[in-house]
């Protein structure tokens, strides 16, 4: 069985360019084109956030698809479920906009679509092999890999750094 993939965030690489935000909004627009997305009313919403921590750190935030997902268990209308791929999804038709999920998400990554009175969140781009935010990231701050594969990359990078340091 292949390992499920996760979106990993390398905050040391994020430059705060917001490419991920634009790509996410475009992917979740009707036309899936930048021009169409900008013209759409209400504007399509991004489900990835880039926050800033003083003095100069940028932190991309995206739904972690928590194993014991607080939003899913707190939902009072049964709108949130985990699909066969392990992705936690909000069913807009069932969402009643009570914002209980917003109240319990410890990452703050559930958005509120005020015009439609619905909560929205990362759905890992079901129509794509690689989520749009990851594809759009120009610096490799967002990485879509399985846990073992990512761990291996981190280990390799660390050993390269060590070897470089030893060589001076």
């Amino acid at each position: 069985m292949s390992q499920p993939k996760e979106i990993f965030v390398r905050t040391d690489r994020c430059v705060g360019c917001r490419s991920c935000i634009n790509a996410c909004a475009v992917e979740h627009s009707e036309s899936k084109t930048l021009f169409g997305a900008v013209m759409q009313t209400p504007r399509p919403k991004s489900r990835v956030y880039v926050e800033w921590v003083a003095p100069d750190r940028k932190v991309p935030l995206v739904c972690r698809q928590c194993e014991e997902a607080p939003c899913m268990h707190a939902c009072i209308s049964g709108a949130i479920h985990r699909d066969d791929d392990g992705v936690v999804r909000t069913d807009s038709d069932k969402c009643i906009g009570c914002w209980t999920c917003v109240m319990v998400c410890p990452y703050g990554v559930i958005g509120r679509h005020l015009e439609e009175h619905k909560a929205y969140r990362c759905d890992r781009c079901p129509d794509r092999d690689v989520p749009a935010c990851v594809s759009a990231c120009p610096t490799g701050a967002l990485i879509y890999q399985s846990v073992p594969a990512y761990a291996k990359t981190v280990r390799q990078n660390a050993s390269h750094e060590l070897v470089k340091a030893e060589r001076g």
Partner: protein, 416 residues
């Protein structure tokens, strides 16, 4: 009647009971699970019942099975079945029809029922409701055609939701509130200003500081409500939202320790072996105030029910307790969140308030200003979950206090 046997018996088929059943099934794929529910309907999402009144949803759209995390695999639900007594010595629950159902582990998740103040005369008339069950909602919806004016007694969230459901059906609605302001359980009167304005703008008539003393009726049912200020309101429907009381009567003589509700230890267990409790009926503890507490909230009930289910299935799991106040919703297009300690009149707290057009927030720190212990957000509820986390985990707030007060806290502040 004969004796039946089930490894796990769950008394109560709502939030806590069904969450427990699901949690047990996740840990124990084979143990038999039997849920006893006194309601005629299969388990459903109780918070959705106002939508049956408004007509926005049908009953079949509220069923639990197959929705959210509820798979219901191998869980037997006996509806219309009511527990009469617990025979803990013989590991049996006795049902009203005389059946004895044996168990190895049992969960008491019998929930609560509406409290109807005994000093309101005539509250048994046709057309008087306490919106609690799907059946209540059906009966309420059926009376809308003959209702021009409905009077809601109590200014809590449930009554507000019922009021808006009726408004959407074109019924004139008056909310009669004994407290100085609506939502008095969830916030201080001055914190409710924005919400009150939104309710007024939405066309809800609100009378505060008054109570009903009697309900008048004739052969057609309710005809009016008499208030303690001498006024009478002509009305064809009354909805009582005066809080709830735990369903514990069947436990008399069982040996279960009941104070107001059933006392739960840190692992959701009662004082008797193999007997657990969760949800509205359980007395747990408030991690912020450190006091015993009962809540009547779906979200809390699910969290505690899951914890109980895990303990019953053999995975010892501590319950982290719940805030007395924990609620999020939107009424009259005004979203709000209230959590932790929000009533600050009688106590020594450090309070930060900020009001702006369309938004209001209040942050309550302990008297030393070291820990966030409560928050009310109206209008803008962004990142409320982070504040809940800070409160519940009793985080030292020195490094993030400015962000908390300015409402700029985000997860980036927690990492590294």
């Amino acid at each position: 009647m004969g004796r039946e046997q089930s490894q796990y018996v769950i008394v109560g088929g709502s939030a806590a009971g069904m969450a427990a059943a699901q949690a047990i099934r996740e840990k124990d794929p084979t143990g038999t699970i039997t849920v006893i529910s006194e309601e005629p309907d299969a388990p459903y999402f109780r918070p959705l019942i106002p939508f049956l009144v408004s007509g926005k949803k049908q009953a079949h759209e509220m069923v639990l099975e197959g929705c959210g995390p509820y798979q219901a695999a191998g869980i037997t639900v006996n509806t219309g079945s009511r527990a009469a007594a617990l025979d803990a010595n013989n590991h049996c629950i006795v049902l009203e029809d005389g059946t004895r159902l044996g168990y190895k582990k049992i969960l008491l998740a019998t929930g609560s029922r509406p409290y109807v103040p005994p000093d309101i005369e005539g509250a048994d008339a046709t057309g008087v409701f306490a919106l609690r069950t799907l059946d209540d909602a059906r009966r309420m919806a059926a009376r809308i055609d003959q209702t021009e004016h409905a009077v809601m007694l109590g200014g809590g969230l449930l009554n507000l939701k019922a009021a808006f459901a009726l408004l959407e059906r074109g019924v004139k609605v008056t909310l009669v509130v004994y407290s100085p302001e609506v939502l008095s359980q969830l916030m201080d009167p001055e914190d409710a200003t924005l919400i009150r304005k939104a309710l007024d703008d939405a066309g809800l008539a609100i009378m505060t500081g008054v109570a009903a003393v009697g309900i008048q009726s004739d052969a057609t049912g309710v005809t009016g409500v008499v208030l303690n200020n001498g006024r009478e309101l002509a009305s064809q429907m009354v909805c009582i939202g005066k809080g709830v009381r735990p369903n514990v009567e069947f436990l008399a003589g069982s040996g279960i320790r009941v104070t107001e509700g059933i006392e739960a230890d840190r692992y959701t267990a009662t004082n008797l072996t193999g007997v657990y409790t969760a949800g509205d009926v359980a007395v747990t503890h408030d991690p912020v105030a450190g006091t015993p507490i009962m809540t009547a909230l779906w979200t809390n009930a699910v969290e505690m029910g899951r914890c109980a289910g895990q303990n019953m299935a053999g995975l010892k799991t501590a319950y982290c307790g719940t805030f007395g106040i924990l609620n999020a919703t939107q009424v009259a297009n005004e979203p709000f969140v209230a959590m932790g300690i929000v009533h600050t009149k009688d106590g020594d707290y450090e309070i930060h308030r900020k009001a702006a057009t369309g938004s209001y927030r209040k942050l309550v720190f302990d008297k030393n200003g070291d820990h966030l212990i409560g928050a009310v957000f109206v209008g803008d509820i962004t990142n409320a979950g982070l504040y809940r986390y800070v409160i519940r985990e009793k985080m030292a707030t020195a490094a993030i206090k400015r962000q908390i007060i300015e409402h700029t806290l985000h997860y980036g502040h927690f990492s590294f």
